[in-house]
């Protein structure tokens, strides 16, 4: 009885199997890349805001402290987006005729809040707490980047869980003395490994096992 399939079929079969495997691997790679890409994470994408507020100007040029506006960053889970009143503290006198500031004045007059576009958005099942990070030597710029150089704010980090965990597994790499928390230009020291270890001890950091328990962030 003659063979049903020609010998070349072997090649076709092998080729299809390998290409299928290759394509599957490629697809996984594409998915993984896309999932980590700024398209999905919004990393590095500056957003239009209802008011053209520039952190670069206020922090970089004027030298305002973060806490002038984000008042609860040291005591609460949320850093706090300032109320309109905070803007008006200065801008009832400075640039009080500026067209750019009209939405602020309008909000103050009408009592209606300005609706800012949220840049750093964590999923609802993640419970991040600003105060504990600030109190344990994690500076603003570690997660938020150099805000003092951002005219419109963008998200400097991916905010994905692997990024969170990288730090929770090796917090020392990002710890700085508490005096440097609000320093936007702080860079890891040359002896960061050593410094991190010392700071972790000084600030009584919890163990890696504790910091990476699921309920540390999820509840």
């Amino acid at each position: 009885m003659a063979q049903i399939f020609h010998r070349s079929t072997n090649f076709i079969a092998r080729f299809s199997i390998y290409s299928a495997l290759f394509l599957a691997a490629l697809a996984l790679l594409v998915i993984a890349t896309v999932a980590r890409s700024p398209y999905m994470t919004n990393q590095n994408i500056a957003r239009e805001q209802p008011v053209q507020f520039s952190h670069k100007h206020h922090v970089g040029d004027d030298g305002l402290d973060c806490r002038y506006c984000h008042t609860s960053v040291e005591t609460s889970a949320v850093a706090g987006v300032p109320p309109t009143k905070t803007s008006m503290n200065c801008h009832s006198l400075l640039f009080n005729n500026s067209e750019y500031l009209e939405p602020v004045r309008e909000s103050f007059r009408s009592g209606k809040s300005i609706e800012w576009v949220k840049i750093h958005r964590l999923p609802d099942f993640v419970y991040f707490n600003h105060s504990i990070h600030v109190n344990k030597g994690v500076g603003c710029s570690t997660c938020h980047g150099q805000i003092n150089q951002m005219p419109l704010v963008w998200q400097a980090s991916s905010l994905q869980m692997e990024w969170c965990l990288a730090c929770h597994r090796d917090a020392g790499a990002n710890l700085r003395p508490k005096s440097e928390i609000f320093n936007m230009d702080w860079k890891p020291a040359a002896n960061q490994t050593e410094l991190g270890r010392l700071l972790a001890e000084k600030y009584n950091l919890r163990s890696v096992a504790e910091l990476t328990s699921c309920s540390t962030c999820h509840r």
Binding site: A35, Y39, M40, N42, S72, T75, S76, A77, V78, G80, V81, P82, P83, T84, K85, S107, F108, G111, K112, S113, I114, E115, W116, V117, K118, R121, P123, D124, F125, Y127, N129, S131, I132, N135, K136, Y203, N204, R206, S207, A209, E210, S213, C214, S215, T216, H218, R219
Partner: protein
């Protein structure tokens, strides 16, 4: 799915109704064989503790239920959707599911304040003191507010009614506030109107009334303790001298009021001090579970339930264990906590009280027959022995004579001034409510009522049927109703004004001992609600004043130091006005029990019908509260319905019963026989439920159900007991008829849910036995060696969270269940889903019965309660089987549940020996209704469908406290700093949470006690939650000989 609902007698389509009638395919009914139950009880050794009659009967069908946690085919699609439709839907949802899972995160906005409110730190909750009025009592509360939204209620430790604890009603009040069914607009003749229009109308009415001196003006309210409101009413009555004020509380206690009057010739208020009493006798009083001051009384009572041994007692300054005797016709939580309980018919309670009075030399008859006499003798001797340290409490539902007898006996035992005090009444104007309502109805009938102001309440639904309140209401020219819901009463009123919830109102209120609290709002009225102050104010000389103005004006002379403004802030902050508890008075007994006419007891063969407020919806006011509807009632474990309760013997006699109607192993659907109850010419059809411990010949009809206009949640649930409640038989009636209709009705009963293979989980012993064998609880279970596990040991160098639950103290009040529901955003699932065993409560309270002797058998078993939550095992079976790592061990020993990882395999739950995991089968949480979004605790994830969830030991509270402690110079968390929601709510202080690694913590000290044991410890799960065995303190003179634990073993 149209079902014929036999109770309401009409067809309707309702999501909570069962979809299959008996006899449908797949539904099998298993009748309960009471004879088998008795036989089994008689044949020793029987099972020591049992939860349901079926379990005791070793019903093979029940066994099948045991072996399946989730019903067979639980996840099957059993709606009547054909295959094609199903495939079409599935195709669409698969395509959508694939897309929705990978989408980009939606854009969100941040909406900051324009001006920051004073004192608010964003992201941190604030607590405000306020008070919840309830009849003639008010409970002081601390309410948690997240950026202006009240989300959780805690007790106010400084308030005498609370001492930091709460009850289920108070816990459920936040749902009441956000209830979307509350009435939202002023209506006039059913048309939308406005407060302004009403105000104008009120002024016109007031002017017209003034000319006639107020003749024709009537006020109807519940019990009023608010000093401001009382002053307003007084001013109104002065302005309109011929106006009259009537009061009606359907579940209030005329007996207590009139009993005081009978004994002392005047109204008095009785304040008990259970902590000072060594021996307590309750004459049908559920003083731990309901009535004024019950949370306080429970706190005090259970502080005396520490069964420590002699030396230990002195060492810790703990007073010896008290003893509680209860006689009652129908089981209550107080009866369940009793050391000796005796079921008596309602009419026999008075006989018993008289006999006791006789025994103590107060005159009258002193002999009771047989066993009853022995019981009485023992109790009387015990009371005699503890003169000045004993206490008699008469029940809210008991007639004046019993209350007067209790007063006389207390006086005779020298208890007055020691274990109880008298004060002036807490109510501003105590009246005989039924007479007050009768007078109003007569006047309405005679056409004497021109304008009727109904402040709260719901008389159109809950007035005695012989008053025909609604018919008479039609004769009133203008009826004005202030009510939270447009309900049965509003239907017949010309004006309906939405009533502000207490969390939206300014007011004031007195507690059971007279202490005044200012009620302050947590939120502006959601639906433009008005308070009684504002409605009365509308008729006054100065209309248009807000409640805030009125209350402040009333208190303008307040000075507790530093002038008014400072004092005002202080009393608002503290939640109590200092020094306002009523001083004790010493009334003289002006009555001799011997002067009572001969007692009239119902003939023994005649059925006695008694009425009781339902433990869930009370008198009907909470009918639309899903949390309370779905709350398994402490003893019957029924949800979403009431049922006529009968004793096993009476059920047999009348041929009544219930059958498990399991569909493929589902838990919870029970089909109960329907009966027609005829009383005083009025009829109602009710489902029946057999309750061990019920007095024979007594049928309990729980009030508060069968509402025809309660809202989406409460309408047409259960049967309306008010339909057969007459003014001459408010609490008990005889001469009724009961007849099985032949039909049955599905009830959702959770006592068949989440069973634990019938193992001995509750361990109990009498005090004497405990003293002889302190380790009895531990000896009952085996503790496997630590190394008997294949898995790596976890180490807990830091904190090791643990919990100890004292079964001597838990009395099944359910406060923890609702507290947990509120704290952890737990959804309500509805009756249909409860009947499928899908209720979501993270904490359940198992109720066990035990029959220490044959004679107590089914008629009067002991009852024990065991709250079961996730046991947070150190060797957790659930963690090992999760294929996606959604449940994992934390470094502090919690079994973390990661909702966003869970894919819903339910392996964890199948492998959990404690059956404490809850699967969100459908999207039970309401994600659409805006007001309910405000209610959620922002600290806890709102779970979706397809996700397993369970108790986390309130990990949000642990984390927040830990962060606070670490920010405070990295100090250690102090013992008692973290309080779980259940622990905070518990009135008995039965639940203690803390760091088990710290040998000095309360929880570690409790775990070191000899009564400490873990449930199913033999599985080497090493649970972090342990239980302290229940110890009861029976009177040796009454203990049946030869039945102690040791001898049985």
């Amino acid at each position: 799915m149209h079902t014929r609902d036999p109770i309401h007698g009409h067809d309707h389509k309702n999501g909570h109704e069962p979809e299959h009638e008996a006899g449908d395919d797949g539904v099998h009914e298993f009748p309960l064989d009471l004879a088998a139950v008795r036989a089994r009880l008689a044949s020793s050794p029987g099972k020591e503790h049992w939860r349901s009659l079926e379990e005791l009967a070793a019903d093979p069908h029940f066994e099948e239920l045991l072996h399946r946690e989730f019903p067979r085919q639980a996840s099957e699609w059993d709606d009547s959707l054909d295959r094609r439709g199903f495939l079409r839907l599935m195709g669409a949802s698969l395509a959508l599911a694939g897309l929705s899972g990978c989408g980009r995160a939606p854009e969100e906005t941040i909406v900051p304040y324009v001006k920051n409110p004073e004192g608010l730190t964003l992201g941190k909750p604030l607590f405000y003191a306020t008070a919840m009025t309830f009849g003639a009592d008010a409970m002081g509360l601390l309410v948690e507010s997240h950026e202006g939204r009240p989300t959780k209620i805690e007790g106010n430790p400084d308030h005498p009614s609370s001492l930091g604890a709460t009850d289920a009603f108070a816990q459920a009040a936040v749902l009441g506030l956000y209830d979307p069914d509350r009435s939202q607009v002023v209506t006039h003749l059913g048309e939308i109107s406005s407060w302004g229009t009403f105000q104008a109308e009120a002024t016109a009415i007031a002017t017209a009334l003034k000319a006639q001196g107020g003749a024709g003006l009537r006020l109807l309210s519940g019990s009023v303790t608010s000093p401001t409101l009382v002053a307003q009413v007084a001013a109104l009555l002065k302005q309109f001298p011929q106006a009259k004020w009537h009061q009606w509380e359907p579940a209030g206690s005329d007996g207590a009021r009139e009993g005081g009057k009978l004994a002392y010739g005047r109204y008095v208020n009785t304040v008990y001090h259970p902590e000072k009493a060594d021996v307590i006798l309750s004459l049908d009083a559920d003083f731990l579970g309901s009535g004024p001051g019950h949370v306080r009384y429970a706190k005090e009572f259970f502080r005396r339930r520490n069964p420590g041994r002699g030396g230990l007692l002195a060492e810790y300054g703990v007073k010896p264990m008290n003893r509680l005797y209860v006689v009652e016709p129908t089981p209550s939580v107080t009866g369940a906590a009793a050391d000796h309980r005796l079921p008596l018919r309602m009419s026999e309670i008075e006989l018993f009280a008289r006999a006791l009075a006789g025994k103590l030399g107060l005159g009258g008859l002193a002999v009771l027959p047989g066993k009853l006499g022995e019981w009485l003798d023992a109790a009387a001797a015990d009371l005699q022995k503890h003169r000045g340290a004993s206490l008699i409490v008469a029940g809210e539902c008991q007639p004046a004579e019993v209350h007067a007898l209790a007063q006389a006996i207390n006086q005779a035992l020298g208890n007055a001034g020691k274990t109880l005090d008298y004060t002036e009444p807490v109510e501003a104007q105590p009246v005989h409510h039924i007479e007050s309502l009768r007078a109003l109805c007569t006047d309405m009938y005679d056409g004497k009522v021109d304008t009727l102001l109904i402040l709260g309440g719901n008389p159109g639904y809950d007035a005695p049927h012989d008053f025909a309140f609604v018919e008479k209401l039609k004769k009133v020219r203008v009826a004005i109703r202030l009510g939270a819901y447009a309900d049965e009463t509003s239907d017949y009123c010309h004006w309906h004004i939405p009533e502000a919830h207490f969390l939206e109102s300014w007011s004031d209120a007195r507690a059971f001992d007279g202490t005044i609290s200012i009620v302050q709002p947590l939120i502006a009225p959601l639906y433009q609600g008005k308070t009684a102050h504002e409605v009365i104010g509308a008729f006054s000389d100065k209309p248009g004043q807000t409640s805030y103005d009125l209350v402040r004006e009333h208190w303008k002379t307040l000075d507790v130091g530093g002038g008014f403004e400072k004092s005002w802030r202080k009393v608002l902050n503290d939640g109590v006005v200092p020094g306002t508890a009523l001083p004790s008075i010493h009334p003289l007994l002006k009555w001799n029990p011997a002067s009572l006419p001969p007692v009239k007891t119902a003939p023994p063969d005649e059925l006695e019908f008694i009425f009781r407020p339902d433990p869930g919806v009370f008198d009907g006011r909470f009918a639309n509260n899903g949390w309370l509807q779905e709350l398994p009632r402490p003893l019957t474990k029924l949800t979403w319905d009431n049922a006529a309760l009968v004793s096993p013997a009476t059920a047999e006699k009348l041929g009544l019963g219930h059958r498990i109607a399991s569909r493929g192993g589902e838990h919870g659907q029970v089909r109960a026989d329907l009966v027609d109850i005829e009383l005083f010419g009025s009829k109602v059809t009710a489902a029946t439920w057999t309750v061990p411990g019920q007095a024979d010949g007594v049928i309990t009809l729980p009030l508060g159900y069968g509402r025809s206009k309660a809202g989406h949640t409460g309408t047409n649930k259960g049967f309306n007991a008010y339909a057969v409640r007459a003014s001459w038989g408010l609490w008990a009636a005889t001469g009724g008829k009961i007849a099985a209709t032949g039909a049955d009705y599905p009830l959702a009963c959770t006592q068949y849910h989440f069973n634990m293979e019938g193992r001995e989980l509750v361990r109990a012993a009498p005090l004497e036995e405990f003293h002889r064998h302190p380790n009895f609880a531990q000896e009952k279970g085996e503790a496997p060696p630590k190394e008997l596990t294949l898995y790596k040991e976890y180490e807990y160098p830091g904190y090791a969270w643990g919990m100890a639950i004292d079964l001597s103290k838990c009395f099944g009040c359910n406060a923890c269940v609702v507290a947990c529901q509120s704290e952890n955003n737990i959804p309500v699932v509805g009756k249909d889903q409860v009947m499928r065993g899908r209720e979501m409560h993270w904490i359940r309270i198992d109720r066990y019965y035990a029959s220490p002797s044959q004679e107590t058998g089914l008629e009067n078993p002991d009852a024990y309660f065991q709250p079961v939550t996730c046991q947070q095992c150190e060797n957790a079976p659930c963690e090992l089987v999760c294929p996606v790592g959604a449940t994992v061990h934390s470094a502090e020993g919690l079994n973390d549940m990661v909702y966003n990882r869970c894919v819903g395999t339910r392996y964890c739950s199948n492998n959990c020996p404690y059956k404490v995991r809850r699967f969100n089968f459908l999207r039970f949480q309401d994600w659409e209704t805006p007001s309910l979004k405000l209610m959620r605790n922002p600290e806890v994830t709102v779970r979706s469908r397809g996700v397993m969830e369970k108790c986390t030991y309130c990990v949000q509270r642990i984390n927040n406290t830990r962060i606070e402690a670490e920010e405070d110079n990295n100090r250690k968390i102090r013992d008692g700093e973290i309080v779980t929601a259940c622990e905070a709510a518990c009135p008995a202080e039965a639940i203690v949470f803390g760091n088990a690694n710290d040998a000095n913590s309360r929880v570690a000290r409790l775990k070191a006690q000899s009564r400490n044991y873990t449930i199913l410890g033999e599985l080497n799960t090493r649970p972090r939650t342990s239980y302290l065995a229940a110890v009861r303190n029976p009177n040796p003179a009454l203990e049946p000989p030869g039945k102690t634990e040791t001898e049985k073993r």
